[in-house]
């Protein structure tokens, strides 16, 4: 209450719901800080290799397990004498790319599926959501493992496999939202104006789904990164000499008693990435839906 008294809202200028949401997001310190961290991590992933004179896959048998800040290796070297800084940047790049692309895959499938089911409704909705129910109950990580074993682990397959797993929740969220949107007057108006079903879904339903979908997307990216590193840890993800955060951590865990930096730096990068996405997702949710706070 005192807040209202000391900070009177500026009158006159109108504020849209989006302006409101952005103002709330900016006021969320954890989310803004995370956004900054994420920008730094992305810059490091893109330009980090320039900080190191060595390519990420250059083996040097005379420089094995060099500690950080020695001989020009800012973060030290691994069991094959490869520069950890260059490898970390590469690993972060691969992990972020997998996170983004797999999430995109799940986004496209999930939104199309959920919006269609929710908008058409009736028996079609029932059938489509039963399929989701059945798929939901599958122990999916085992299928992803089978897929990797069956077809060999190439990066493209990882995108598709993880994306195909993550679309289920997305489709449920989208369907729920669509069901409630369908009752709204502006949809009624669009139908009265003679718009076709698909046009209404594309022009009116999907744009209005953006809020909840954006929240879920920011929370899916870290889940995907985690899933990929999980596979990499089991030896089924990204294959050497390419690296992801998962393979780096996996290798670091093996050598940690000789070379702590091989575990600590990749683990820190991983924790920072996951934390940043989670805080931004939470912040977005609070900003878009203030009654949830």
């Amino acid at each position: 209450m005192t807040d209202l008294a000391t900070h009177p809202t500026p009158a006159a200028r109108g504020r849209s719901l989006t302006d409101d949401a952005f103002a709330r997001l900016r006021a969320n310190r954890a989310a803004t800080l995370s956004l900054g961290v994420l920008v730094l991590l992305t810059l490091f992933a893109l330009f980090g290799p320039l900080l190191s004179p060595w390519p990420y896959d250059q083996v040097n048998k005379d420089h094995v397990w060099v500690p950080p800040l020695t001989d020009g290796h800012l973060l030290g070297t691994d069991a094959l004498g490869r520069d950890l800084l260059a490898r970390l940047a590469m690993g972060l790049r691969v992990s972020l790319a997998i996170g983004l692309v797999a999430t995109l895959v799940s986004l496209v499938i999930g939104v199309a599926w959920g919006a269609t089911a929710g908008y058409i409704g009736g028996a079609v909705d029932e059938a489509m959501m039963r399929i989701v129910d059945v798929l939901y109950a599958l122990p999916f990580i085992f299928f992803v493992i089978l897929l990797m074993v069956a077809f060999g682990s190439n990066i493209l397959l990882i995108f598709v496999a993880i994306g195909a797993v993550e679309w289920l929740t997305m489709s449920r969220i989208v369907r729920g939202q669509t069901l409630s949107l369908r009752q709204k007057e502006f949809i009624e108006a669009a139908r009265a104006a003679g718009l076709g079903r698909m046009a209404i879904v594309a022009r009116h339903i999907i744009p209005n789904l953006l809020g909840p979908v954006a929240v879920y997307v920011t929370l899916t990216i870290p889940a995907v990164i985690l899933a990929e590193s999980f596979l990499s840890f089991l030896g089924l993800g990204v294959q050497p000499p390419l690296a992801s955060l998962g393979t780096l951590i996996s290798a670091g865990a093996q050598d940690m008693e000789m070379a702590w930096w091989l575990l600590v730096f990749p683990a820190l990068a991983m924790a920072a990435t996951l934390a940043a996405f989670n805080f931004i997702g939470d912040g977005l949710r609070d900003a878009l839906d203030p009654k949830d706070r």
């Binding site: 109950a137 599958l138 299928f143 840890f233 951590i249 865990a253 991983m270």
Partner: protein, 307 residues
Amino acid sequence: MLRFIGRRLLVAGPTLLVVITLAFFMMRAAPGGPFDSERRLPPAVEQNLKARYGLDRPLPEQYLAYLGGVVRGDFGPSLKYPDKTVADILKQNAPVSLKLGLASMILALAVGVSLGVLAALRRNGILDVGAMGLAILGVCVPTFVTAPLLILLFGSTLQWLPNGGWNGGALPNMILPVIVLALPQAAILSRLTRAGMIEALGAGHVRTARARGLPEAAVVLRHALRPALTPLVSYLGPAAAGLLTGSLVVEKIFNLPGLGKFFVISALQRDYTVVMGMIVVYAVLVLLLNLLGDLMLAVVDPRVRLS
């Protein structure tokens, strides 16, 4: 209530069928076979082996034969360990995973719920900050980081606990794997409990209970906790799935002879029948736990049964 259970079981049937079908054909689509080895077998021997296990018959026929076997509870023989059936291997490995999962679930619930309740009662206090710190840690630091760090600290450096191994499920061998497996779940559970408690503590019936002069403990435990636990109960299914996934990594790191460790090895060795058996067991477990979660939800919140 019976109709409720019936409807859930109706979904379980098709789900299991999808699981078996997908797994069967994915496994067979994989290049290589169970009898590949460093030294190539003479073609005649390989042919005989295939004939013995029925692998030379057309794929649809094999699929139907396998389905028939599963319905009768027969998972067939292992292809890599000729003297063992899949059931033998499952009997040997499943108890390890189950014991691990159950202990982790109990620990996660105990820590998660009590931390969540205390955090909600002392909002913004030290416990609240600590609980939320744990929640963030549990989400951001994956099991394959916590496990090596804990091994390094308590195993190699302090030498209080063994670095790995099962040792018949002895307590010292269980401590680290259980903690590692429970941490992410405890984090999520504490967050859910805290949110639920904060909402419940502000509800009208809790104010009424306070106004009637009930002792604080009774208000919290009897009136606030029950509605606060509802979201927790519906999280049980996903939590169990999370534990199963986590056990893949934990069993590998701690070198425990459970299903998770064996699954990846069997898949790589193309031991078709063993992989299939494990997937069926996992799927049944997840389905049962989901059903259990739904049932408990219906008990805690009777409105659920009607919808």
